[in-house]
């Protein structure tokens, strides 16, 4: 329905964007071609969604060397859905990838919903009305180890670090919310948009894959301060989360930390992809709320109100702690979460990961406690050096008393859809065919 050329739209000037925004739905209803914008409003994954700064007609381009939804700032809502895939051969897998690409191309750009004979079920769930708005939607597709392991024709192409997630010392993994052949990470300004996208994808791919589990989450929307800069959003422990993330608007840094390059020794098809880690980590919030304030700060390693490091309590969230000046951990305990996660020495640079988490709140446990926690998502070019190494360092940390990782998995995020004639996973399919 949409001209694929529209996907490769140019970046618009701010003025023009405002103008188009003013036109609102009419602009979308008329010609869609020029409306979508390529620029994003915030520049780092860590940044919280900013109140009133984003609009339903904002969109994130889905074409590029890398998939969208990784280095873009998190919108307010995110979700990971995991599927089992049925494809028995390269042809069937290609069909699935092409179908997903087509849905992504439509949903992230938007447009009118097809109107069918009322005697037929509608083409669209209708959650967003007759006109689908992009609403900053991104859909990011990644593959699990089982997809490769269970298919001899695909197994030789498995990324070299991709593996089934195994238990860490504090984990209580629930098989019903772990692993999967394929994940779809869906992020957007509003929950309606993420759910609409999920239902669309399920409907479009029912013959090719089966939903296994999903977890939704969100990031609090922050009103920027007088200086225009928004603070990091808080997680359910009440601490700012995302402060010390690498700068996702620095392309060189992202090449080093996130994206698999030709030098990484991965299968050639995998270049431009990344390792995705999903961890559903329950927080024992009642217990946390009964923990002394000072102890909470020592467990995390930051001040709770401002997020400043403990060795400069009056400083700013983005000030850098000086661990060299604090070898005994008098200010920042040696086993504080942030100190274990990143010792901030030369050696730990190799273990940088890009965190992109969402808070989740699910309901009540059988014991009458809140089932809340963190939908922890991170990306890295090397799974071993990234998440697995960092998590090993965190094993046994004092924070564990308040955490229980219960689900998730390891996945390989496919390289991007290069242009309108390409489709997601085309390099893998070509490799599987021996082309």
């Amino acid at each position: 329905m949409l001209d694929p050329k529209d996907l490769r739209r140019p970046s618009l000037s701010l003025d023009r964007r405002r103008l188009l925004k003013g036109l609102g739905a009419t602009a979308i209803g008329g010609s869609f071609a020029g409306v979508a914008k390529a620029e994003t409003l915030h520049h780092s994954v860590a940044d919280a969604p900013v109140a009133n700064a984003t609009n339903q007609i904002d969109s994130v381009p889905c074409l590029g060397v890398h998939q969208a939804g990784i280095v873009n700032a998190r919108p307010a809502n995110g979700m990971v859905a995991s599927f089992d895939v049925l494809a028995k051969d390269a042809g069937e897998l290609e069909t699935l990838f092409r179908d997903l690409t087509a849905r992504i191309a439509f949903l992230t750009v938007g447009g009118p919903v097809p109107v069918l004979d009322p005697k037929l079920p509608p083409a669209d769930s209708g959650l967003l009305g007759p006109m689908v708005r992009p609403d900053n939607l991104t859909i990011t597709v990644s593959l699990g180890a089982s997809l490769f392991d269970e298919r001899p024709w695909l197994a030789p192409l498995k990324p070299k670090h991709l593996q089934r997630m195994t238990r860490f010392s504090n984990d209580a993994l629930d098989a019903e919310i772990c692993h999967g052949d394929l994940t779809v990470q869906i992020c957007a300004n509003t929950q309606d948009t993420t759910i609409h996208a999920l239902r669309d994808i399920i409907k479009a791919s029912s013959r090719q894959m089966i939903l296994k589990w999903k977890q939704e989450g969100n990031v609090p929307v922050i009103t920027p301060g007088p200086d225009g800069r928004a603070e990091s959003a808080r997680n359910f422990l009440g601490f700012r989360d995302g402060t010390a993330n690498p700068n996702s608007s620095d392309a060189t840094e992202m090449d080093r930390v996130v994206w698999v390059g030709p030098e990484d020794g991965e299968p050639v098809w995998a270049v431009g992809g990344s390792y995705q880690v999903v961890r559903i980590i329950r927080n024992f919030v009642e217990r946390w709320d009964r923990t002394p304030f000072g102890e909470q700060e020592r467990i995390i390693g930051r001040t709770k109100m401002s997020g400043a490091p403990l060795d400069r309590r009056d400083g700013h969230e983005f000030d850098v702690p000086d661990y060299a000046a604090d070898p005994e951990g008098k200010a920042t305990p040696l086993d504080a979460h942030i100190r274990l996660a990143n010792a901030r020495d030369e050696a730990s640079k190799a273990h940088t990961i890009l965190r992109r988490p969402f808070n989740y709140s699910n309901g009540v446990t059988r014991s009458g406690q809140l089932d809340q926690g963190l939908l922890f998502i991170c990306y890295q070019a090397n799974l071993e050096r990234g998440f697995i190494t960092v998590q090993r360092k965190l094993n046994g940390e004092p924070l564990e008393e308040y955490l229980k990782p219960v689900g998730g998995g390891y996945f390989y995020t496919l390289p991007g859809i290069r242009d309108a004639s390409d489709y997601l996973g085309s390099s893998l399919i070509a490799a599987a065919r021996g082309a």
Partner: protein, 272 residues
């Protein structure tokens, strides 16, 4: 039988000559509906016969015999579930599950097939089941009577094919229907046969226009068949927990796809 013989030829000629049957459907559907009614009547007659033997075994305290008769008795019910469900009071008392009751299995209100199933498998006993058996038989006979005097609504008949698949997709593929006996594959057989019967009856009406659609639907039914065949055991099927994870996925996808596709059947026949 008379109706279908008479109207059949006429309706078919009409369809073939007019070609514009998508919007005005009622006449074309007379024959399939009449035939479907015969099918349902046969199934429900069999259900009454089988339930008579099954409940007799329960009342005689013959646990093994009752266990052997449980799954085959249900197949005919499962095949006509979309019609049985039109009488929701009977559907509840014949086929509801423990989850539908506040105290689950312990709830004195928990009736029907699954109450007896629970006693037979979990308690290995027929104790206290005689009144449940009497009620079940009475309900099944009442169902037969009500079906005999029912005018089959065309949209319910045609929509029934999708309904059967929706039920499998939503609450059966998990193995929760026959959770004590694990005889779910028998139920599946009934559900798939029931859905396929409906497709077969309306096939002539859409064969020309919807060849691709029918091809996909047939392919998915065949997937189901070839998967179920692997689990045949004597007259019936092995326990549901013997179903491999791979085959469960294959069945789940086939069911979801059939539900998607068959949801368009009513519209394709011009029914609201």
């Amino acid at each position: 039988m008379r109706i279908c013989g008479l109207v059949g030829a006429t309706a078919l000629t009409l369809i073939l000559s007019s070609g514009a049957f998508a919007q005005e459907a009622s006449l074309d559907l007379v024959e399939p509906i009449a035939e479907y009614k015969i099918y349902v009547s046969e199934q429900v007659a069999k259900l009454v016969e089988d339930t008579t033997a099954f409940t007799a075994a329960v009342k005689a305290g013959e646990v093994d015999k009752a266990k052997a008769l449980f799954a085959p008795t249900r197949v005919s019910y499962e095949a006509i579930e979309p019609i049985a469900e039109l009488f929701s009071d009977l559907d509840v008392s014949i086929d509801s599950r423990a989850d539908d009751y506040e105290k689950a299995e312990a709830d004195p209100e928990f009736p029907g097939f699954h109450r007896i199933e629970y006693g037979l498998w979990e308690k290995n006993s027929t104790e206290g089941l005689a009144p449940v058996a009497d009620k079940l038989l009475a309900d099944v006979k009442a169902l037969e009577g009500r079906i005999a005097s029912l005018t089959f609504p065309p949209e319910k008949v045609v929509g029934g094919a999708a309904v059967l698949m929706e039920e499998v997709a939503a609450t059966k593929i998990s193995g929760e229907e026959d959770r004590y006996s694990h005889t779910d594959l028998w139920d599946f057989r009934g559900n798939f046969d029931g859905a396929r019967k409906i497709v077969e009856l309306v096939r002539p009406l859409i064969a020309a226009k919807e060849a691709d659609f029918l091809k996909t639907v047939d392919a998915n039914f065949n997937t189901v068949d070839t998967t179920l065949v692997k689990y045949e055991d004597g007259e019936g099927y092995v326990a549901y927990d013997k179903l491999s994870e791979d085959d469960r996925k294959v069945l789940a996808a086939a069911v979801n796809t059939l539900a998607e596709d068959l949801s368009t059947l009513r519209g394709k026949l011009g029914l609201d």
